[in-house]
Symmetry: C2
Subunit: 616 residues, 2 copies
């Protein structure tokens, strides 16, 4: 590398002056962010383990072809498993390790969908048979629900599972092109087994969609079994994003499986061909969904906080305009316009984190109850997270963006876009559902009206200025204010560390006022605030930005993300962006030779006016 | 391929029933969209030529590694030039050909920045020397302005050009790391010359930033000249997007160029070392910028219309929920929620197209005046397009998304996001500036107040319902309504073809009411409409969607985009999406073998519990 001395690359913290400005105990905030001292310890230890192991490097990903990229992902997944086995990591540690490896792979579906589905929908015997194999990865599973012609509408699935009482088997079949399974991750090239969803047909009668454990590939040579046509669906969004994953296509041609491979916790088919429901309510199926949705929120929270971390650090490094007498230009983070983009997202990142924590608690609570055969809160839990269904598309975008940030990521545009979508969709319904869940679990009823009035109250408390009248269709927006209020209420009782509580309060207020500002059209059109109130709220919001400013870098440091996990030079911890960008550029494969491959064939004929005779 | 008969792939138009519904003359609309019968003819002919030539295929792009991708782009650029030469294409046809080849390449900068800069800022002698070389591609140029530490703030550039009167040369130098040129397209591996911007220093005095023609590479063997360090800055956003372009990094180490390679139309340095300004106003430099901004708007218009075309067609193909008695599910395009996302964007696509056409006229007008040394309207033209400066980031996202749509593109999310950003930023300032430009060119003055009252008038005319009072800071939003009105006014006089005018009127009204809805917070908070008015406008908007619905497919057909240009199976003309998706999947390199490369090394050891001894 030319023009950059060694001393420019190592050891100097270019953001030290920012860190010195902060007014709170960053280490204490790290524990608040992580959820507990224990969670912080695990997260910190495992993230550093991954970051320091060259076997997990990510910086070369974008230059690989699809095949190389995929093969490298297989290697990483095996290497991660080897690490887990060698170091005897706990289940919690292993999950963190997969998280920090930060590369979508078949293992996500195996651990995140296949195993939970068996746990939630399988009988005791089925769990005893399949789970040990899955836990040791003697089989690798995926989750085959979506079809080429059918996404969200599970009831529209076309794959059939017809019971054959002669042989005590189900015949799994894809009757049409559009019934091909399409998208399931891990299906394309890796999974040996699938939970496949299909319409159950017994004795000529249909009984709706059920899940079946179907072996797809030989455990000896990995070749697809008889009647199975399976492959990868190809590239998604260019090379950088989700192309480490083998999203797959699958067709069944009268594939036979034993009767006991239907997931039978909720309903059974007997060997005589009788279909019956168990006492277990059908909503049990929702258990898996609650889990999946919880992970989607957690994903969104990670994606947002990661993006905010990169954007905040780079905004402190980057200077533009405003030079006085030839001095340095102004840090971008000091512009009010930039603060009004960045700080609401910083506040949202914290809010999301706490929503995610609550959902995790919710899932744990539901699981515990399910294990005790207590299904009373399940429908409410499902409803709590069902508002997140619409989040799926957004979360997909988030997941995808999460992979994009490489060296060159200029983060503002997508950042704001996700955030606003996520916030709008996530918060209001969640808050209402959360109250309903609590009400259901304590046996008392909470009506929508109760929620609305609570929302009104929250607005009044937080701003002391709004004279509110709601109509029910618009009051949803107010819920999100209440939602943020809740977190602070909860946090107020137990936050150690100098200044930590104050910072969270500032963020909470920003979050609330930002939402108010964002939805002012609705608030104004329902007459619940006046134009004057809206203007006052806006002034308040801007004054809060000044309070965040000196703490901004420390607030993103509290996420405790390694440079490896962030995967962006613009967001590197020490802020030494320019020398690192410059050095990284030279590593691109195109720079292996000064004169590019193709010069003699395609450039020189142009310059030498020999194009008409060139072989192209 | 299994499961798909030949008859499913060829010849059937699955959207014929949609096309039969349309109530206007699509061929006439195609001409309106193209701008003129001549423009339509050129566009239609060249787009089909590109689409039918296997030398220009794009469908394999996403599976290539960076090096392969780049080499293939070099080949395409050479092949395009060969086609242009062989077929003796006119300048207009050649530009269209490059457009429909639809792959970012060094040629974009050569034709789009290097040549216009010389035309705009070079003296007659300079133009006579350099333009013939550039037109024949005996030299290949790029535009090196942005530096690692300095983007928008041109006055902050650090590169220096110091005049040496002893040798009658300039010494171009990069004094710091952050002064490295960074991002210029075509610079990385291809360009032989650059227009480099640097601070001019003559006799120890600084005279601001000027442009210089600097040779970068040998015309004999393409090696960088003495003192030039040049390379590619590496991957941008994964593989699919802009990685066909060799965005570059460049450092000058006291590179000497003859004095006559400073672009001297505006200011000169004499051989005695005297710096002088010509009569030509300094704003001449803006000429290039006006051109560049015009192309950015055109790009945004193409990106939006392409995305809308794909989304509209796929919304007509895709069915989800709403099945009655086991019949087919409902077409997604029939859901009001989908219409409220899609149709405002369809309307915006048309609006953008007309804005783009106007800007093209503006540039032509400015250029003509400049050639006659009439600089009177230049400042206004610059101002007209300066509002677009903020669009640059958006347009970058647009450019980028423009490349993303491959087979797998599920288009809703990004679509809406660009559109709203583009519309918000583009229209209000444009409208005001346009009036000012007209005023300036006719010698009369138009104040901002005039514009505001015109905006008020437009709102009143269009809705006949709004009782408006503006305060100046918010009235910007109203401008966009007026903006759309203008187009229709102009179009009303000369639109042949059954139903064409009516369709454009519906789109125009949707565009206006959508903007009103989008900014209702501002309108309400300034008291210029009441909540009741807002609700009425919304009802009106929804009723207009019903009028668009039967014409939606025909309205996107009128863009006359080939399947090659769209580059998305979801948007294919015949709507035969599922068989095509299914077939395309099998072409992914991962499907070359049933058992993936890496199975023996990385999957089998997992399944066989041999991970601890595996070599990873």
């Amino acid at each position: 590398m030319e023009g950059v001395g060694e001393e420019e690359m190592e050891g100097v913290d270019h953001l030290a002056h920012e860190r010195n400005k902060s007014e709170f105990d960053v280490d204490a905030m790290k524990i608040v962010w992580a959820g507990s001292p224990h969670a912080f310890d695990v997260s910190d230890r495992i993230s550093k383990l991954v970051a320091s192991d060259p076997g997990f490097r990510k910086d070369n990903r974008s230059t690989l072809s699809r095949k190389e990229l995929f093969k490298n992902t297989l290697r990483k997944a095996a290497y991660a498993w080897k690490t887990i086995v060698d170091l005897r990591l706990s289940e919690e540690e292993a999950a963190k390790l997969r998280f920090y490896v930060d590369e979508p792979a078949f293992t996500d579906l195996h651990w995140g969908m296949f195993i939970p589905a068996i746990k939630g929908q399988g009988t005791e015997e089925q769990q005893q048979k399949w789970l040990p194999l899955a836990y040791k990865m003697q089989i690798i599973g995926c989750y085959a629900q979506t079809e080429l012609g059918h996404g969200s509408n599970v009831q529209g699935l076309e794959t059939t599972a017809t019971f054959d009482s002669q042989t005590d088997e189900f015949i799994i079949h894809s009757p049409t092109l559009t019934s091909s399974k399409w998208w399931p991750g891990g299906l394309g090239k890796v999974a040996t087994h699938a939970i496949a969803y299909a319409r159950l047909i017994v004795g000529g009668r249909e009984h709706g969609v059920h899940g079946f454990i179907v072996q797809l590939r030989s455990l000896e040579d990995h070749s697809p079994l008889l009647g199975i046509t399976v492959g990868d669906i190809g590239m998604k969004f260019g090379n950088g994003a989700y192309n480490t994953m083998d999203n797959g296509v699958l067709q069944f041609d009268h594939v036979r499986i034993p009767r006991n491979q239907m997931l039978m916790r909720v309903s059974q088919v007997t060997c005589e061909g009788k279909y019956k429901q168990s006492d277990v309510p059908r909503q049990l199926v929702y258990g898996t969904m609650v889990y999946v949705r919880q992970t989607i929120v957690a994903d969104a929270s990670c994606a947002l906080s990661r993006a905010v971390c990169i954007a905040t650090r780079y905004s402190a490094v980057r200077r533009q305009f405003g030079s006085q007498n030839g001095g340095p230009e102004t840090q971008v983070i000091d512009y009010k316009t930039q603060q009004s983009r960045l700080f609401p997202l910083l506040a949202s990142a914290y809010a999301f984190r706490f929503i995610g924590e609550w959902l995790k608690w919710l899932y744990a609570d539901v699981t515990q109850r399910l294990q005790a055969n207590d299904f009373s809160t399940l429908p409410e839990a499902h409803a709590c997270t069902a508002g997140l269904k619409s989040l799926t598309t957004t979360a997909t975008a988030v997941r995808w963006h999460r992979r994009v940030p490489k060296i060159m990521w200029w983060p503002w545009i997508p950042l704001q876009q996700w955030a606003s979508r996520i916030i709008c969709r996530l918060c209001p319904c969640l808050y209402i559902r959360r109250r309903q869940y609590r009400a259901a679990s304590t046996g008392c009823k909470v009506s929508h009206e109760d929620c609305f009035s609570a929302g009104v109250q929250a607005v009044q408390q937080e701003t002391s200025r709004y004279n509110s009248l709601y109509d029910s269709s618009r009051a949803f927006n107010a819920m999100s204010l209440r939602c943020s209020k809740r977190f602070i209420e909860k946090l107020q009782q137990e936050i150690p560390g100098k200044g930590v509580k104050q910072q969270l309060e500032v963020l909470c207020n920003i979050y609330a006022l930002f939402l108010l500002h964002k939805h002012q059209g609705d608030f104004l059109s329902t007459g619940c605030i006046t134009p004057k109130h809206a203007a006052l709220a806006n002034d308040e919001l801007r004054s809060l930005y000044s309070q965040v400013r000196p703490n901004a870098i420390a607030l993103v440091d509290a996420f405790n993300y390694t440079d490896h996990y962030l995967g962006s030079i613009l967001g590197c911890y020490d802020g030494n962006v320019y020398p690192k960008l410059y050095e990284a550029a030279w590593k691109d494969p195109l720079n292996e030779s000064v004169v590019p491959d193709g010069y003699h064939l395609y450039i020189r004929p142009l310059l030498k006016q020999e194009i008409r005779t060139a072989r192209l």
